[in-house]
């Protein structure tokens, strides 16, 4: 797989170090000082590169094909998992997975879109783009969680809801609205973790939660940078500029109060060290689940509603001004 452009100097340096180490081992010569020095330089370079990533570079990181998927997080974060299928209405959407999982002994309901890890899998999973039956499955599992008072954890990583003829026929818009409404009033704790892409209404349909966490190299926006650029300038290749304008990074969203916390990734992105990323997500979930479990469910719902009620910026106009 192709490395990102901006990573190339670092990857070259890392390769050089690796070669040098191998040469050491073969030749029995001691280059340990040189190696240490090179490693210090690599570490500095790594920090420099990843500290100054542009928003669009983060968008590309979020789309990295080796980035952990929902099923990866389920495997890494939970002790047991029973996947549950179907919307009991029309079908079972492979683009959304869900079920009951054990989080440190506690049953939780987990739901999230599922991208494939290769082309074959991506076709089977429809690139993680859900159809209405996927959202209806999610809704069904969330209602089940409510009945049994189980917390709900959603993982979000999709560029949007599937734009297709059948998806429209079966009520893509309507079901997104239903998901949003139902999650808003769900009488059980909800944590949403935006792990990769958070694209538009399709992401929000899984994103109405008591705590919204976001990985460092994830994005969340009303529109993808490509489509934004294509609307603004009729040129989707200017996506990097659009990404700047859209303020779609965790840092911006935290500042706006849209999300509650940012989950740091290993330098170079979640795919560089999946296990570390899994541990990070687990630690954040542990912390926030503990907080939510202490709160009465009536209060959770009230605060959840209040949280969204506040979002928006506008000016009240005194009638004299008009």
């Amino acid at each position: 797989m192709q490395p990102f452009e901006w990573e190339k100097p670092l990857l070259e340096l890392e390769e050089r170090i690796s070669e040098l180490k191998q040469f050491c081992a073969r030749s029995k010569l001691d280059f340990s000082e040189e190696i240490a020095s090179l490693e210090r330089r690599a570490s500095t370079l790594r920090r420099e590169i990843y500290a100054s990533l542009t928003p669009y570079q983060r968008v590309l990181m979020a789309r990295h094909p080796k980035r952990p998927t929902t099923l990866d997080y389920i495997r890494m974060v939970f002790d047991d998992f029973l996947e549950m299928h179907g919307d009991r209405t029309f079908g079972d959407d492979a683009a959304i997975v869900g079920g009951i999982a054990l989080f440190e002994g506690q049953p939780v309901t987990v739901v999230g879109p599922q991208k494939g890890r290769d082309t074959r899998e991506n076709i089977a999973r429809n690139f993680g783009l859900p159809h209405p039956e996927g959202y209806r499955k999610a809704l069904r599992l969330m209602r089940q969680a409510e009945k049994f008072g189980r917390p709900v954890i959603t993982f979000i990583d999709l560029v949007g809801a599937h734009p297709g003829v059948e998806a429209e026929e079966r009520g893509q818009g309507l079901v997104i609205a239903e998901c949003i409404e139902a999650m808003s009033f769900l009488r059980t704790p909800i944590i949403a973790v935006i792990t990769g892409e958070g694209g538009s209404g399709g992401a929000l349909a899984l994103g109405v939660a008591d705590r919204i966490l976001m990985l460092e190299n994830a994005w969340y926006s009303v529109i993808s940078p490509e489509m934004c650029a294509s609307i603004l300038w009729r040129d989707s290749s200017r996506a990097a500029e659009a990404a700047e304008l859209l303020r779609l990074t965790p840092t911006d969203l935290l500042k706006y109060g849209i999300i509650d916390d940012v989950i740091t990734e290993p330098l170079g992105g979640a795919h560089r060290d999946q296990a570390f990323t899994g541990r990070q997500v687990k630690a954040f979930l542990r912390r926030y689940l503990a907080v939510l479990k202490k709160t009465k469910v009536e209060r959770l719902v009230e605060e959840r509603l209040a949280r969204f009620r506040r979002i928006g910026q506008f000016h009240e106009v005194k009638l004299a001004e008009i």
Partner: protein, 261 residues
Amino acid sequence: MPAHETDGLWVRCDGCGKLVFKRELEKTSFLCPACGHHFRMGAPQRLALLADEGSFTPFPPLVSANPLGFPGYEERIRQAQEQTGLDDAALVGRAAIGGSSCILAIIDFSFMGGSMGSVVGEQLVRAFEKAAAERLPVVAVSGGGGGARMQEGIFSLMQMAKTAQAVGRHSREGLLFVSILTHPTMGGVYASFASLGDIILAEPGALIGFAGPRIVEEATRQKLPEGFQTAEYALEHGMIDAIVPRPQVAQCVGRLLLWHR
């Protein structure tokens, strides 16, 4: 299908292709005199058609901020305000329809495509809150082309949650929400409050859906079915309660309000 203006005075009908005199349209509630095609109409005209005369009291106006500091957004708003005479894309207030009080919200496509930024979202939320407080039904007429107001980025997206929640709180009080979908109701407007009506009516031929037809066509590389995403298509696929031609909308909504008093 938006009506393409040919010059200032005439407009070509998307229904029959004939040229229609604009002044004529104002007299016919923007129905094509030749084929009955429903042209888009502005919020003030819609208000006059729907609400009992003199019954409307608008909510205090709100004006857009620029939360992301999006370049050119203030200017864009100012232009839209000048062109439409509206503060933003939602006209909201208290009204009576067929003698029954309600809160009425009308989305005007001509204001930035009827997109939902912070102002539209807040006005809609206030509509449902006011209605809940006074135990009134809400009637909303939606015509939001793409739904999202890109220039407000994530703030625009969040209005979907905010408005859907306002519908939910109003609904849990046992109150009625009649959602009227007019051409075009798409994207975030459709995927939030507009599709949460207890009763969903649509005007003939109105485009209704989530992803726009061009996006669907590009994504799927297949020809779209005949009548894709029209009101008639939505009815056939179970998504709306009824199609009501424009001249009957006020009477139909009036009956519904009366039956839910």
